[in-house]
Amino acid sequence: MTEECSSQRKCFEESWPPVRGEYVVGDPNARVAVVTLASQLHVRGSAISGPCKTENLGVEKIVANVVSNCNIRFILLCGAESKGHLPGNTLLALHRNGIDEQGRIVGSKGAIPFIQNLAPDAILRFQEQVQLIDFIGLEDEAKIAELVEIYNSRAEPYPREPFQVVKKKSTAKVISAGEGDLLLGSGVVMNTATWLVQAEVVVEC
């Protein structure tokens, strides 16, 4: 038997998982999260399971939902890889190598493997908290359930507080719409950059 989180320390918030997506929540006290990549599979016994088809936004959601639950110590990658996007390969690369200064996931073979909404410490936490179990290509639901059961008993909860990923806020830039504003007639224009509809200013000479 593995140790549950004590009453003094919460392994996840009641609102977990914090980021919405195409997943099924199982037992939040389980140690394994299952990513079924491009396959739709019924998974038993995991904390959370679901597909991931993109190498950027999809990967970000997985990281956010995993690091916010200390019980999760393993991510089982299975199912068919999503062609071109390669989110399975990208998750492995993120875990192994992290990101560069531009946010590119180092070593990923996916089409556009960039992290936009995660701070570097979230990625460090992801690398420390979980171990990736690479069974990409496996679609046998019985075998997946067997693996989940094995890994569910292999580790204790991560000994830190749940990590909450807060979306980075950046300052808005004003776009110059130039002469391309939409004329709506009757002296009314729409600034295409801001989508503000306003009356034309008439300058009297």
């Binding site: 919405r20 997506g21 195409e22 950027n56 936004l57 999503s82 062609k83 071109g84 996007h85 531009q102 946010g103 590119r104 089409a111 556009i112 493997p113 960039f114 936009q116 950046s170 808005a172 830039k173 776009i175 719409a177 130039g178 391309g180 504003d181 939409l182 004329l183 007639g185 729409m190 295409t192 950059a193 989508w195």
Partner: protein
Amino acid sequence: MVNVGGIKLGGQPGENATVLCGTIFYQGHKIVQDEEQGAFDRAAAERLIARQAELSEETGTPAVLHLYARTIEALERYLAFADLTWAGPIIVDSADAAVRAGAAALVSELGYADKTIYNSISVATSRMEAQAIKESEVDSAILLAYNPTDCRVDGMLQVLEGGAAMAEKGLIPLAEDLGITNKLIDPGVVPMGSGAGASLRFSTVAKAKLALPVGSGIHNAVSAWPWLRQKDKATKKCCDGAASAMQILAAGDFLLYGPIENAEFIFPAAAMADILVAEAVRDLDNEPAANHPIHRLV
């Protein structure tokens, strides 16, 4: 305004009807029996393509056949079939960059380059893929303005014009270097919750600033919405039609409307939106084209 295979894309709102692009042989398409070899149910494919053509003729809404292929062998078979069953422009597309690169060479060899739209040139376009486009006769392409580090409107514009950190140059100058004269702009729609709505505002900004045709696959925002998956077909169709109309109202010139089966309800929704836009600008001297839905359906 650009002209691909006799179809006009762009112009002022209310001038040309929105060009509707239905996808066939997409990933998971039930009519495909072997996606590696390109084996498919020919009778079913013919019915789908003919129905898109009928709806285009009935509504006055131009259409493009969007061919998705897993391999170059499959694309070769799809192109041969499209040559027999479809008279208009085509889009060639694959998730695999090597297949897209091969597609550029293949359509040139077969003499289809002048009616082919390459999907797509993006920040993911490698030197190998760019070289294949340059060496081909393809001169029309969708430029995917998706910016993985900044999916706001200004981030997408940076990807197109230059200045986004992850690419050597902007997609517009890159496309021009590769011989692309007909440049179609697509924001690359992300799921709702991740910023899908920015695609709509981007459309009006990009059209105004760049004077290029804009459009999107806003269908993807609808199909990626987990909440909607639990709903019935009628509800899903309603949302798909509404999203399409919103893209048209946001200055859209073309629509990648998703599975070609959706033609049945997307064509009426798009024709309705085109008519409403045309009526909205009637007193601004934006004359609808001769074959515009406003001349056929009302």
